[in-house]
Symmetry: none
Subunit: 200 residues, 4 copies
DNA sequence: AATGAATGAGCTTTCATTCAT
DNA sequence: GATGAATGAAAGCTCATTCAT
């Protein structure tokens, strides 16, 4: 990418980032079209290629940016002293809702990244994704699994929760308006249920 | 579609069905390309359009076929007297593995259908999907939830299991070889865990 | 072409000739499609190419056949002793209507030949057309122009009549049913008018 | 169509209009191919679709444009005080020759429109054609038929003249070079002949 | 002889990318 | 820096022609 992108007014940067996130999140890497980004962002086609060599470059950048920003927001919202796994999880979901203030499609974009099936796209974002996963692990390392019954393998439980919250997120984006509070309530209800099942 | 498709040698029919399933499953409706189907099936481009008016028609047909075939295989493998929810679930997964004998990409295709985001594609397959879901409900109606603790809301548990098994399926397709037995073992391990957590 | 075409039952020959005439007449050389000929004739696609190497060959044959048949019918219907130009002309139009008994699209096909704009097609039929034009000249040679006023240049008058009758023919084919008698009446009314204008 | 087409340099607009006219005029709606337009205009394939949604849209536009331009040129060249039918007709032919200055294929295109047989094409241009026909009627309304003998039905005479001039136009386009003056002379000779025949 | 399944070149249309202004 | 006109490779689809049966 062209580093001068950062010299743009923050507002314009965000317009472009949001445009890219929205279109990539909704259509995936391959079917995301430049013209749609132009339409939703109001930024001319030429400029996209001025700052980002090509679609690959744009995708790499936006992914990197999104994941870095997500880490930041999550770090901010997660209580450093919290050790309850399920409380940590819901705090993270709240963090995602906070991201929407600046980047309304970021939560959906995060989900779309984990669902991306295009090989080229996957290889482009692998690195950023690993860094993000690492950071999430660091946040979750405080989680105290001692109250969880032996039967409940934390890795598996974790996966199930992840897949479930991702699906929930996608569902909410499909409705006319995304109601954050309602989403958080539903997410919490899942988490509480699992907690009650897995805790001794 | 052109009904004469059924007059083709079953072998050729299956070559085409498999080709379509594979490409649709991997790339989704929009990005699935005729040329790729030609490549993987060895059947010329013209023939696809000889039997199926267009991409829409092909997708509609393959989806209908796949779901009907899936229902058949599932009906065959599920023990009519089985009432244990988790046993029923694992039987269904075994059924999916059986489908691979004839249609190696069918399990992945089923997952891709539930993840399809393209509006046109969704409307094309809605009907077939509803029939499939109904049939699955009929199979699962024997399931006895009485041993499940009140805390475990069956709807939510069910969703979590579905999302998890779908994700697992996709993961296995990404590895070099799909090892059915290994998949079934892992699927079972998830189901056993959830069973032990949710049963009184 | 394959001479064995003539060994086919006359009925089948005519089915094919009619099919080709109809489609060529309606859509012109380039846009006439094999599939449409198959549809209207009921004769399988393979057979067309068995008897006629390709579209070119078929067009050349059908044109030759049509023009030869037209000459025959015209010769039969035109009164050898008639010398009045306008009576000869209407006799020829009646001859064309007679052709419809066996080849319903032949009159339209004749018009389409004179309107054909495709270079390849034109060169294919040039020879047959010349022979036909010659024969028409021979028929018309008996025409007595002595009653026509000097002002009326016969060549020009002839051209105008030709173009007009061709347009009339096309119009009649566009209506739901071709009413031969009505066509002949209208054609005659044009001819009578011109006669009254050009005769001293 | 994309209104920005009008922002292009007039020269380029005309290159495209001329390219489309030429190919549509020569091959008709269906067989006119983008690639041929690219070849004769030197304008890339993509651009055609940038300005015109599809072939339909292009045809509709070019027809509308051509007919509007024709009306303009005809209005300019026709003497408002002229009442002689035949003088008006030859003035219109002169008008058509004038059109060739900017749009060399416009006279042929006008003829091709009246000969177009493709149903879709016909319905696309119907409206524009009606407006054009109306305008021609307005121009011709001044024509004084009082000197024409009762025997000469003006409707029929008119049709014959139209068909004849159209055929003449096509003939001239088929020769290596279109010689306007020669065409006008020949057109005039037809008109004078008919005048002398029909006037009392 | 007869069929129609099978093919691939060519057509219309889309879209990432380039480039003159 | 900013624009959007311009490009061409590739996608979906058609159709004359071939060929196994």
């Amino acid at each position: 990418m062209n580093e001068k992108f950062y010299d743009l007014k923050k507002e314009k940067q965000d317009k472009m980032i949001n445009g890219a996130m929205q279109i990539f999140a909704r259509y995936g890497y391959r079917h995301a079209s430049t013209d749609e980004m132009v339409k939703v962002s109001g930024v001319s086609k030429g400029l996209w290629f001025h700052y980002f060599e090509n679609k690959k470059g744009l995708y790499t950048f936006v992914t990197g940016y999104a994941l870095k920003y997500a880490i930041l927001e999550l770090s901010m919202v997660v209580d450093a002293k919290e050790t309850d796994y399920f409380k940590l999880m819901i705090q993270m979901e709240r963090g995602k809702m906070n991201m929407m203030e600046k980047y309304p499609f970021l939560p959906l974009f995060l989900v779309s990244l984990s669902k991306e099936r295009d090989e080229e796209a996957i290889s482009l974002i692998q690195e950023a994704r690993e860094r993000y996963d690492e950071r999430i692990s660091e946040i979750m390392i405080k989680a105290d699994y001692s109250k969880i019954r032996a039967k409940a393998e934390t890795g598996k439980v974790n996966k199930m929760i992840t897949y479930t919250l991702e699906a929930l997120t996608q569902e909410y984006y499909e409705s006319a308006i995304f109601r954050k509070e309602q989403y958080l309530e539903e997410a919490d209800s899942y988490l509480q249920m699992i907690k009650s099942l897995t805790y001794r």
